[in-house]
Symmetry: C2
């Protein structure tokens, strides 16, 4: 059974997508069969692994959520990275938020989709949009673990309280097994000691859930999405690639099962 | 009557709050009486001008939206910048999204609040959360203009189509006078020519709505929120302060009326 990890934080632009794409690629490189599920209507994770808008219109996570017979396999594509697969988002996913709300148990559509699918993976990473709405709740209800990326900037600290309250609500009402397993400090900018103060606060609040690996802010990481490539393809020896490889080892705990 | 400008973009972390706080402060410095309305439950704009969590719990935008007799004046506070005022957000604003949805014309609560208030300002800037949900729709329905900050990075380009579709829907169904008046390129990082390519695409798509002023990515801008100060108080001669002063002149067109 795969480890299903929702990558969530309602604060915007804190590296959720960048972490899903690059942690996913590095887990795949280690030999873990990994699926990225893109729940953000903007489809940044789909773009980040090179899936064009056209391809997404055919079948995407929108169709899987709306049609309760369609298994994940029907909307899953391979990527340029061996062992890495993607179930892309499309723009009509934004409409799903409204359409799902009218049905019963609207928060459990993704979990139901996982249950009717053959998830032949070691890891499933779910990229959530920057809100605590229905799409993110679906992601949290379908996962066993949550990974929170925290940007090393001041505003990013403010939202974590609200996120923990939401996680608790989801755990009580929708998903007893949900656990905050991993916190990752990202976009660390050595030019300011603000970043060090943020990391200190994060370690105080989250203790040993915080990864030792800190992802630096690097230009190459921000350039890779334009070519639709994870950093290990775009610039394999860059600081960003090294950091996400370290993170993949830390999250996976070492050698793949296959 | 004030110019009411909603600052919106569902892509997260693209400088909405930073633009509201600093454009607001620079308009105030020019002599325009300016109100910041914080519609984001995370309350980053409130923090950015130094309003503490405790102060927000008393009265905030949550109370104004929920209580249809409370005028904006009851939830408005002065800031350390002369001429700059704030109607802060509080965490319970997230609950408002659910509570408002059950009433009639849920999208028009903010407009109704403006109509029952004495808005004695030259500018009202509304900081929207990173989604196209009910709070953002309230902001768009209550404004006459929209300002879209666009981060000079690749993923940030993807969401603009979805945003334009939403603006059109709001214009047709809720607010005939809504106009996309201003697009600002922000967080420009000279270390990569990706930023130049993004600006080129933005100017192609939005023509003369795009401000000449481009806000650079600077460490000082990211440090200012920790002290709860706009950049003109935190480091008045920095590149960030210069850029937002230029932007304020461009948006206001010059001399204040008072
Ligand atoms: N470590 C990093 N170094 C440099 N740039 C980064 C890094 N991580 C992310 N970025 C860039 O910062 C921007 C925000 O990151 P990203 O889109 O991954 O955040 P997000 O949390 O997924 O955003 P949203 O809230 O919109 O979903 C993107 O343009 C991305 O390329
Ligand atoms: N020009 C800039 N230079 C450096 N840092 C910046 C700049 N503009 C914004 N930032 C920083 O980038 C982060 C994101 O900016 P900000 O919070 O203003 O974006 P936002 O669009 O309001 O985010 P959200 O989508 O969560 O509301 C913040 O930590 C902020 O301090
Ligand atoms: Mg994202
Ligand atoms: Mg903001």
């Amino acid at each position: 059974l795969p480890r299903v990890i929702a990558v969530a934080n309602q604060k915007g632009g804190v590296g959720k997508t960048t972490t899903v794409v690059n942690l996913g690629a590095c887990l795949a490189e280690l030999g873990y069969r990994t699926l990225i599920v893109d729940l953000d209507p903007q489809g940044n994770a789909s773009t980040g692994v090179g899936i064009t808008e056209e391809r997404r219109r055919e079948t995407s996570m929108y169709h899987v959520l709306i049609d309760d017979e369609l298994p994940m396999e029907e909307a899953t594509f391979p990527t340029d990275v061996p062992n890495l697969f993607i179930a892309p988002a499309s723009l009509d996913l934004a409409a799903a938020e409204v359409e799902l709300r009218s049905g019963f148990a609207a928060e459990l559509y993704l979990r139901a989709a996982f249950e009717r699918s053959k998830l032949d993976y070691d890891f499933v990473l779910i990229d959530c949009p920057p809100s605590l709405g229905l799409l993110t709740t679906n992601g949290l209800a379908a996962a066993q673990e949550v990974l929170i990326p925290i940007q090393c900037e001041y505003y990013a600290l403010e939202g974590t309280g609200q996120l923990l309250v939401t996680l608790e609500k989801v755990r009580k009402k929708l998903n007893r097994s949900l656990e905050l397993s991993t916190v990752v400090c990202v976009m660390y900018d050595a030019r300011t000691n603000l970043a060090d103060r943020v990391i200190e606060v994060v370690r105080e609040n989250f203790g040993d859930k915080v990864c030792k690996t800190v992802v630096p802010r690097t230009v190459r990481l921000s350039e890779a999405p334009e070519l639709g490539q994870p950093i290990i393809l775009f610039d394999s020896s860059s600081r960003g690639a090294i950091a996400y490889r370290e993170l993949a080892k830390e999250v996976s705990g070492g050698t793949p099962p296959r």
